[in-house]
Symmetry: C3
Subunit: 262 residues, 3 copies
């Protein structure tokens, strides 16, 4: 079996709008053999941080042959650059808003700034670069175009940072970095080597919560508030077969504290 | 690389229901090499006009080799026909409800009325022609079936119309034709050659709104009400990094007026 | 055209979370030629019964060459088994929670219990077996791995049951088994050979409802409450171009009664 080149798509376009479809059409018009893989079109609108966590948790599992097209782009049409990036064994097309910078490679990334309109659609709108620039460039790359043809190397780019959790004497204070579809709260507190905490605080004034430390959800009865190691290696707060975000009215950025009795 | 034939899918089925999956299964059972491309399964239920705007904004970007299957079909099981259509360089299977008639080709469309049950599933339900007629016919077409085998040419079909905006002395009055996932309001007022207006009215009694005329969203601070040319070439009303539909309680069909001081 | 092997995906992961994407990446890293087909990622969280109805209504239409990966898995990380199943002409990877047991084959199913970690990811998390076990096993199967390599045959598994409707003198009492995206209510009352009923009761105390018996939705004006045969062969209650679940405040498990005047 010879299979067409893989192009993955991640956007905040939703699916009731025609934007995802238009992007797919442009790619397939230039390279009808491209294999499109939807990663998500439900990134919350303009939420670059959400996209950054999404990509860091998803892209490392892909083969290096895939090309990832990311269009979460509040700065569309402005002076913000569009970048071709090779990092952590992955190849991406991204707006220069930092959405890719949680991917950690062992070598410095290769970054090219898109500057050659001959690989774009002839007319580029001011509000839909996904269709007019990202899609045709992705299609040309999938046909074998050398990325150095796209524009000059870039040495500067926007970086996002993850706040570092603060370790106290008998506690660690971090924050919620991602709320998933189940309402599970993923934090920035590394779970590896974490001793089972005695105290858990979440949200305003980091209220103390009754909870159980578990290995997996099914270790406690439905409805139980639990803390555990997430599948991405961070402290996670969940409600078994429930929705912790709703139960605790928790949102991204809220503080989370774990503590130990001496 | 030899790639299987492209079949795109657009429905109002949602994804929690098994209808999209059943349709995919039927196609792949007849032509296992077909390449399925999801355009949307989130067309609002039975909203033929939404589908019509969606298709007009999405299909023109596809290569002529694609076959587009559209199942937004409030008349399923009734006397309404199912049509094979070639128009504007695209090939479609559609219920005869006008959903394809905003696609504008340079030549008259070729339209065939499906009438040959030998290309359908042996038992055709009264409520799910997507599975029982559209899917098997699409699969047979993707295997090379000549469309003239499907039934007789059709000379009549349902047409949708877009209301024409009304030009006054110093104003144009149009309406909202589409609200996208971001809450941006797309109107029927062509944006090409439009002078930046001084006055913008939206909704009931077309209230005057403070707004800025911009080239793209990022030209104004978050929260600003802006008017601009949409990526499809029409006047668009948006809130920068916000949701204009929610802010203005605006829905499809509401009047929009732009005016100029003398 | 030689096409890669088909792997379908059904989960309750939603699309704003990175879990679907991670699963796709793992499959494509092991078998880059696999063709991924999304069935649904909108199964309601942890709703195994919803998944079971979904699969029974969708999978029978697929060719036997497809492999179906189902991850609706409230028991993830616990002692629950993961199964490879051949039944009703389909091949599935499922958590042992009964989600596949509404598929009815003519011969007993072949069931294998996954027990060979060499086909899993080297590190298996306690909360994301979709990525760490289901995905790599699916990819290896798509490369031709003999299912008997995966583990020992299983003779026991969790079964779900559909309640049997109760027939009275002049009535049948059943219940709602599935509510679809349109708000249509699918029941467990077989529609084949059902005489058009004179009385319809739905919900609390099975209130009598004014309704019309129809062949398809378009047989009655918009807004009409109708009863009809569903596309899966059961009694269905719907509101024409409306939402019966919302109108009747109906949910899965509520009683439905149809009756006949003597």
């Amino acid at each position: 079996v010879t299979a067409g080149p893989l192009i993955t798509l991640t956007t905040d376009f939703g699916e009731a709008s025609p934007y995802v479809a238009a992007q797919k059409g442009v790619i397939l018009s230039i390279n009808p053999a491209a294999r499109l893989v939807d990663l998500s079109h439900q990134i919350p609108p303009q939420d670059v941080r959400h996209a950054a966590f999404f990509l860091a948790a998803a892209l490392p599992y892909f083969p290096p042959s895939a090309l990832h097209v990311i269009v979460v782009d509040p700065g569309v049409g402005s002076e913000r650059a569009i970048l071709y990036v090779e990092t952590a064994g992955q190849r991406l097309l991204v707006p220069d808003n930092g959405c890719w910078t949680f991917l950690k490679g062992e070598t410095p990334p290769r970054v090219v700034r898109l500057a050659e309109p001959r690989f774009w659609r002839p007319q580029v709108s001011a509000t839909f670069h996904g269709r007019d620039i990202f899609a045709p460039v992705a299609a040309h790359l999938s046909l074998g175009l050398n990325p150095s043809e796209l524009g000059p190397p870039a040495a500067e780019w926007v970086r996002l940072t993850i706040p570092v959790p603060q370790a106290g004497m008998n506690s660690i204070r971090g924050e919620i970095t991602f709320v998933d579809h189940f309402g599970n709260l993923i934090t920035n507190i590394p779970a590896e080597r974490l001793q089972p905490p005695d105290v858990l605080g979440v949200g305003r004034h980091t209220c103390r919560r009754r909870f159980r430390w578990v290995r997996t959800y099914a270790d406690a009865p439905p409805g139980t508030l639990v803390a555990l190691a997430s599948s991405t290696g961070f402290l996670e707060v969940a409600v078994v077969q429930g929705n912790a975000a709703r139960k605790l009215r928790a949102t991204v950025g809220m503080p989370v504290v774990v503590g130990w009795a001496r």
